[in-house]
Symmetry: C3
Amino acid sequence: MANTYVLVHGAWHTGELLEPTAAALRANGHTVHCPTLAGNRLDDDCSRIGLQHAAASLVEFLETRNLSGVRLVGHSYGGMLLSQAADRVPQRIARLVYANAFVPLDGECLVDMVPPHYRALFDGIAAQNHGAVRLPYPIWREAFINDADAALAQACYDKLHAQPIGCFTEPVQLKQATAALQVGKSYLNCRQDTALPHSLPWHPRLSDRLGLFRYVECDGSHELLFTNPARFAAAIEEAGRD
Amino acid sequence: MANTYVLVHGAWHTGELLEPTAAALRANGHTVHCPTLAGNRLDDDCSRIGLQHAAASLVEFLETRNLSGVRLVGHSYGGMLLSQAADRVPQRIARLVYANAFVPLDGECLVDMVPPHYRALFDGIAAQNHGAVRLPYPIWREAFINDADAALAQACYDKLHAQPIGCFTEPVQLKQATAALQVGKSYLNCRQDTALPHSLPWHPRLSDRLGLFRYVECDGSHELLFTNPARFAAAIEEAGRD
Amino acid sequence: MANTYVLVHGAWHTGELLEPTAAALRANGHTVHCPTLAGNRLDDDCSRIGLQHAAASLVEFLETRNLSGVRLVGHSYGGMLLSQAADRVPQRIARLVYANAFVPLDGECLVDMVPPHYRALFDGIAAQNHGAVRLPYPIWREAFINDADAALAQACYDKLHAQPIGCFTEPVQLKQATAALQVGKSYLNCRQDTALPHSLPWHPRLSDRLGLFRYVECDGSHELLFTNPARFAAAIEEAGRD
C-alpha cells in the first residue's frame, strides 16, 4: 500500500536532515515530502518568527501541492506544527504520527511541556542571541544523541540550525482538541529518548492527549533519524499505515 | 524439562485461538491444554454467565483431567480466572503466569482495574445486547493489535466472540491474597501492550500484587498470540519454567 | 579508542565474577580492572566493615596504581562506592557509569533507597549472622536473575559471598552532589532488572540524581553479568565512551 508521507522536522533541524529517513520510505513505494518550514530556513530572522508562522508554512505546503490522505509525521517540536496544521486542514490528513513529539493542548506552547531548567536555558540563550536558540553541545551529546559515538554526535551537531525562540513560546490555537479530530493518530516512541527526561516523559504523559491512538516503539535516541534512519523509517511506516 | 501448561484465554477469545502458541510450546516437549471456558463457548447465554461460572469451568477442567504441577498461564481477563482457580485448587498448580493479565484483590472485578471510560463503554454495549460485549473495531485495531497490519487486524477481529458482561463485573472471592499462595508467580509483559493505557499500566501496577514474582517481557502488543505466537510461546516458557 | 575501565562489583559479588565482562571489553582493546573491595574479600569480618571502609579500598586501588582518565563502572551497590570515591578523587575519573546502581544523596545509605521490606529482611538476617547478609535464594532466582534458567540461577548463587550489613547502613559523605562533579555520567539500565521493583525503580528515580547524564539500556536482568556478559560489556562500552 503506497501512501503519501509528509515528514515535519523538529527544532534545529531541516527537511534535508530527514532525507535518509525519506529514502527508506520511498524504497517501500511511498511518496515522501520533507519540507523545511519557516523558522528553520537559511536567513530566517529568529527574532521575528514564531510557531504560527511556522505552522502556516506547513499548511501552505499542503495546500500548494493540494495534498490529501497525508500521513503527517512530526518529530519533537514538529508535533506542535502537526497539531496546529491538523486543526486548520484536517480534511487533507489521513493520520497524524507524533514521533517523540509534543502534543499541545489548546493555548500551550512548547516550553509549557519541558522541565523548567530547559525553559530558563532557552530564554537565556535567546536573550543573548537576538531570539536565536542553539542547543549546548553537552546536552545534545548526552541527552539527545546518546546512541551515537562521539564523532557522529559532533558531525550531526554541526548540521543543526538556530531556532527562533518564538517557536517555543508562542501557543497553539486549536478549535478542537487533537483527540477529537477525525483522523488516525499514532505515537512513535524511541525507547532511549531522554531529550525529555524519563521522569517527565514523552509517553504516556503527552501521547495520552491523543485519545485513542496507536502506540509504536523502537530502540533509539531522540536523534534516531541520524543514528539509524532505516529503523526510524520502519517504525514510521508501522505507525503510519492504516 | 517437559512441563504441563494450561493456557487460559482472555475475553472475546477461545482456547482454539491459543493453539498456535500451544504448538510452539509442544515443539519444545511440553504438554499444553487450551480449554475454552464457560462464557466463551458457542451458544453460551451472555446474559447469564459471570466470572464465577467461568472460573468453575477452569477448576473443573483441572480436576476432571486430574492435572497437577500445572503452569497455569492467563492472558488478560484470564488472570481473573487464574486468581480465582488458584485460590480453589492451589495444590494442582506449580506456577501462575499472568500474561498482560489482571491480578485482582479479593472482592475486585475486572472493570475495577480499567479506565473509567472502558467501564462505561462495556456497560453501554452490554445493555443493548442482552449482556453481550463486543469490542469496537477501532479500539481493537489501535490499542489491542497495534503491531499488526490492517488485514491481519481485521482477520483476527473476525474470530472474536461476544463476552458476557458478568465476566467483567462479577468479583473474585479469594480466601487468601494471591501473593500469599505457595506457588511460583510470574508476570509476562508485552512492551507495546496498550490495551490498558501506559498511564494505568499492567506492570508494575497489577504485577506488584503478586508479591515476589518473576518478571519477563518481550516486544509485542496485547495480541502477540496472533501477531507472533512463537515469540509469545518463548516468553511464556521463560516465565513458566522453574 | 582504548580506554581504562575499573569495574566495581555489587553486593555479594567479587571482582572475579566480573572477569567475563572484562574479557569482552579487553577484546575491544580496553584496559580493565576488576578489584574485589573491602567487605567482599575472603575472611573479611562482616561485623566490622562498612561502606567507608569499602570506598577507601577503591580509592586506594586507584591511587596505588596511579590510574587516571578512568571509566569507573559500578554495579548495584557499587554505585555507592562510585559516588563516594568520585567525591574523593574526581581528578582520576573521566566518566562514571552506574549500571543498575544506587546513586546516593549526601548522607544516604543503600537501604534508604530500597523497599522497606528489604531493609527489614537484611536487618533480620544480619542480626542472626554477626553482621553478614546473604540474599535468600527465592529472591535471587525470581527478582535478581529472572533471565536465567534454574540451573544457571543456582550455579551463580553458589558463587556469592556474604555482605557486611554496614555496607548497606553506613551513609556516604559527599562534599558536593554527584550531579555537580565535572566528570561524565552515564546510567545503564537493564530493562528486566527487578532487583528493585519497577514501582520503585532504578531509572529514572535514581538516575535523575546525576543531573545531565547519558542513558543506555539493554535487555537483561540485574545479573546480566552472569547471563550475558558480552551484552553487558557492549552496553558498558556504549555508556562509557566519550
